[in-house]
Amino acid sequence: MMLDLLWLVPALPLAGFLVLVLGRGSLPRPVVAAVGVGSVGVAALIALLVAIAFLSAPPPGSAYTQVLWTWVDVGGFAPQAALYLDPLSLVMMLVITIVGFLIHLYSSEFMADDEGYGRFFAYMNLFVAAMLVLVLADDLLFLYLGWEGVGLCSYLLIGFWYRDPANGYAARKAFVVTRVGDTALIIGLFLLFATLGTLDIQELMQRAEQQWPPASGFAVAAAALLLGGALGKSAQLPLQTWLPDAMAGPTPVSALIHAATMVTAGVYLIARTHVLFELAPIVQSAVAIIGALTLLLAGFSALAQSDIKRILAYSTISQIGYMFLALGAGAWSAAIFHFMTHAFFKALLFLAAGAVILSLHHEHDIFRMGGLKERLPVVYWSFLIGSASLASLPLVTAGFYSKEMILWETWASGSAGGVLWAAGLIGAFITAVYIFRAVFIVFFGEAKTAIGHRPGYVMIVPLVVLSVFSVIGGFVELPPSLGHVPLFSELLAPSLPRDLAPEPAAGAQLVLLLVTSAVSLLGIYVAYRRFLQDARPFEAAAGAPAATTLQRLWFEGWGFDRLYDRLFVRPFMRTAQANRNDVVDAFYEGVALANRSLHHLLSWTQTGRVRWYAAGIAAGAAGVVALAVYG
């Protein structure tokens, strides 16, 4: 049966990783590229075959479990290394392998001149394997293995160009900040196992539903701890600070790990354990509020950046904020829908940005780019399509349908829906402004830097394919007012509860759709006026002292870095400085010192003079006799 091939999907990239690691330094570059790209490509093919088999003849319960082996078996704790394929993990798996393959293909040219070619593909393959384990795991412990695996690869790839200390610093920062979330997650796993006695996800969800009343303490604690893990991995408030710095890695890494796949692991985790979040309404509202806040804060920060990759990084944080907003509003399939379209258009944007950066001799500053429209037409069009999708240009882009679905279902989600919807709407406006700001500054105006490397076919093919996905990816789910094609949410229906949105209500939905469209068009127009046409009316406002302060604040990502530096880093460094000689160790040093001085005292009596010893013996004997006589 075709489904039995499922294990090959994560196994192939892992095998690719092993080959590349073991043959490091001895494999010629074409072989490295063939192994690195090929393993993910074949995995993508198998994933497609599995998907076709799954969709044409859905297994009972719309879920297929493949037990690989029992990990350990001690005292009733028997986590299994098992793969679980249901529509949710199917979507994740397809996106990871297909987008992953395209990015690998792109990298084979992008990284062609890099001395760490083999190392790069080894890490990338390991990442894909770990990410697939994460989404396919049937057991939370197995999921955690993938979770830490992608964290490790993220660390290794951010610090890929390790000769620059700044890159190493960024890698460490990413690792430490996500570690905060990971710690919460593992404590959550302990709690779940201690109270429910299993870590098998399906079993766990059933037991949670049976044993925990809604809003009970355990449910809230478990959901909150899982949310902590999700916040760290998905770079949401307050653990978002690592993602902009993570742009120190090569651009394909940013596209794959820090845009399309790893950072959405938190979204997947919440969707996967949605039962817990439904049992803890407080935490679920917190998810929505965090998502709304993050999408606004990151959106404003993206407005002020001058590094093209940092714009996209803040944009990623902001778009994941939308996914969290959807999760919090109970629009489960909308969140996954947006994950999919976001993976397409954000990977596209990063790859296009990478092509620009490469052709301009590793220039990141958008103000030193410009006029690239005629000189890099393919890159221009793909970046434009990605931007249009990100800005949710009405009707023709995938991002429009997913974002519209999120906003509509947020609006319909209940009492706080209006406020959250408004936040999402403002976010949509900002999104359109900041991304078209980048488009107009980078591709229009006069040229400022000479073109070096022009992207070859290997880089162009992924751009074209992702452009196509960014346009047609949204047609799998059309809103009620536009034909009502709920293919995607019906596909996900067995894994995720149906969204709460009231049935068709096409009238209200159409109004919201028009508002959303108008807002994103307005955003594009504002960017057009400000950055392409007459900037004077804006400059008057931008020159005001308050505006410059605000802009500096946005540029620094609202000063979170400075805050955390004051709050955590510096006190920690000071403590470390004070504890340089190890306070606890001083006690043991003291014991040793007392022993040593006692030793010196005693050895002082050892004069080596036999007469002293004789006198000692005599005095001692006299003492003993005196004691015997008078005592």
Binding site: T607, G608, R609, V610, R611, A614, A618
Partner: protein, 102 residues
């Protein structure tokens, strides 16, 4: 035959012992220290004799013979050590032999 009081004998033994101890403690020449040890041993022997005479028992004399042989053995070992010491350090000063100082 006039009988010497036991106290006198013991007093003499104590005096001899103290003199011997004093000799061990104050002399630096190791041969004199050895001789002082002999005096101390003999003082102890004398005390045994006096005590044996006091109680009319032969045990005291047996102990004296034991001490005599012990002293002979001690002198043999001691003289051998002294010879070695003189051989190696070319001195008879006991204080000079302090290589085991702590």
């Amino acid at each position: 035959m006039a009988v010497l009081p036991t106290e006198y004998g013991l007093l003499l033994a104590a005096l001899l012992f103290a003199l011997g101890l004093l000799g061990v403690l104050v002399r630096r020449n190791i041969i004199f220290m050895l001789m002082s040890v002999e005096i101390m041993l003999n003082a102890a022997g004398l005390a045994f004799i006096v005590a044996g005479a006091r109680w009319g028992q032969a045990d005291g004399q047996i102990m004296f013979i034991l001490i005599l042989t012990l002293a002979a053995a001690e002198v043999a070992v001691g003289l051998a050590l002294i010879l070695q010491m003189y051989h190696r350090l070319a001195t008879l000063d006991a204080d000079a032999v302090s290589g085991m100082r702590g």
